[in-house]
Amino acid sequence: MKTRHPLALGLALSTALAAALAPVPGLAAGASDSDTERQARWTEIATSIFGDRKIEPTDTLIKVDAPARAMDAALVPITLTMPEKDKIKGVHFIIDDNPSPYAAHFTFGPAADPGELKLRVRINNYTNVHAVAETTEGKLFEAQKFVKASGGCSAPMGMSDEEAMRGMGDMKMKFSGDAQSGKPVEATLMIRHPNFSGMQMNQVTRDYTPARYINKVTVSYGDANVFTMDGDISISSNPVINFAFVPKGNGPIKVAATDNQGGQWQHSFTAPSPSN
């Protein structure tokens, strides 16, 4: 009953094709799917991302928080919590019923404190979202949550494309808390970028604004990697990522971002350095 094509799984999206084949977003399409249908869909997606690797359910290694009903489908705040953070190597985030489900993949580096991650995503449909944690031992653990939202990927932005692209690549970084050697510091990275989904239509040209999205963000502290994120069209415009890092030695904190159309941006921020 649902037509999907494997190319639209995300993180390697062929933009024109995805736009052409994207299902017409319905008001509550997907709302009536049975649990069995949802599970079948997840199995299919998981297989295409992880192959035949086993994914175990977990209540302890990763938790996903999202509003049960999105207030703004184009900006749904997601919190991923990984209490046993020393065991976590990376996190995958998947929005099952989005046209391009594989929203983001984070891998953590030595300067990371992978206890918590926050991001903002588009959700196009009533859907399960899955967070899959990858442990340092190479095992996979999943947590899921059901979110009611509609139209997040195709919703037009409140401005022209030109306006939406103004300041593209600008960044801000906010830090909270005092830095103490070995203690994690929370940080918020903000990137100006429209993250066009390829599903936002311009009626005059009868065409879709081509997908243009941040596909990689690398954050490092001094010489040590904090995290690398592979991103896709499901990340909201003007991406904001909350993360934590452990300051050892001196910064700065550096961010390098690229988009799928060859855009490259680098910024350096003075990170709070340990006071002792």
Partner: protein, 344 residues
């Protein structure tokens, strides 16, 4: 009751008809409010407000009244609901002005069906040509009635940014509305044929309409009008009364444009949502109190690292009792405000 809560009369003189509503009408509202799981507060609020009268289909929508709120100025109140198949998206205040040389449609309605109803109401009252149709901004509850006036070949007036906004969103709105109403009742996207800039005037012979194209506020294409014939200001959705304002442009910009409305020399206005006409100053004071609270508390949340998912639950909660549909829109408004203000 409402008056005590909000510090003002529930409605102004034009709404005196409420007192004459029958008990059956009010009972009907109560029953409907319960089935829609509205709170008692909202049910009571709704029961007192003629503008909140629900309707079941277009037949019941005939119960809508066009009221003459000024000489030759007719307004119908929209429902304080979301668009449904039953209400045909008749949720905005719409109406028309009859001048010596013709009719100007001040707001077209939320669907082809709503626009057709409006056109029929015009024709009950005058045979004059419908020369002008105003699209006050891009939102579907204000735009989709325009298709009903195609045969009149009017000049379609809009903000310079309206065309671009309709190009970006029109098809999307149409599709979403068609899912609710069906395509045949939804209508097509109608584009402005004349973009107006500040100070443009429309001469209807015995009265003039002075138009203002506003900076980004409620949306990026808000147009207001001042009618010299009645002295009424038509701020459209720059002014919400009773129904919670919805933010889709710029919060800082809206507060700025609200100041501008104050200086336009009008004592009374026809809000985009709410009673057919209100005293401008107190209505603007309520609006700016909400928007100011939204701005200040969102800024505070950002400054103290309250994340967006927490801010949507805490910001502007003191305003909850003052607005209908608060729970449906406030969180979304906070989201809009947060993403605007976090880049300051």
């Amino acid at each position: 009751m409402v008056g005590r809560r909000t510090g003002r009369k529930p409605h102004d003189a034009e709404d005196g008809g409420i007192a004459r509503r029958t008990a059956r009408d009010l009972g009907f509202i109560g029953a409907r409010a319960v089935t829609r799981s509205l709170s008692r507060r909202q049910a009571v609020f709704g029961g007192l407000c003629l503008c909140c009268l629900p309707s079941l289909g277009r037949a019941a929508a005939e119960a809508f009244e066009m009221r003459e709120v000024g000489p030759g100025v007719f307004v119908r109140c929209g429902l304080h609901e979301e668009a449904t198949a039953e209400n045909a998206d008749a949720i905005a205040n719409i109406g028309f002005i009859v001048g010596r040389d013709g009719v100007l449609v001040t707001e077209t309605g939320g669907s082809l069906a709503d626009g057709q109803w409006l056109r029929a109401e015009i024709r009950k009252r005058t045979d004059k040509l419908i020369r002008h149709v105003v699209l006050t901004h891009v939102h579907p509850d204000h735009c989709f009635g325009a298709a009903a006036f195609a045969e009149d070949k009017p000049i379609i007036i809009g903000h310079p940014a309206l065309r671009g906004a309709l190009e970006a969103r029109g098809a999307y709105y149409r599709q979403r509305l068609a899912e609710i109403l069906g395509a045949d009742r939804t209508g097509s996207v109608v584009y402005p044929t004349q973009a107006v800039t500040d100070g443009a005037e429309i001469d209807l012979g015995d009265r003039t309409l002075r138009l203002t194209a506003h900076g980004t506020a409620h949306t990026n294409c808000d147009l207001s009008m001042l009618d010299t014939g009645s002295g009424l200001l038509f701020p459209a959705d720059l002014l919400f009364v009773n129904r919670i304002p919805s933010l889709d442009g710029s919060l800082v910009g809206w507060l700025k444009e609200a100041e501008r409305l104050k200086g336009m020399g009008a004592a009374r206005a026809v809000p985009g949502h709410g009673p057919a006409s209100v005293e401008l100053a107190p209505a603007l004071a309520d609006l700016t109190r909400y928007l100011g609270t939204l701005r200040d508390e969102t800024r505070r949340a950002i400054a103290s690292d309250v994340p967006i998912e927490k801010a949507v639950q805490s910001v502007a909660q003191s305003e909850r009792d003052h607005w209908l549909l608060f729970d449906s829109y406030n969180g979304r408004n906070v989201t809009q405000a947060y993403k605007e203000l976090e880049w300051e």
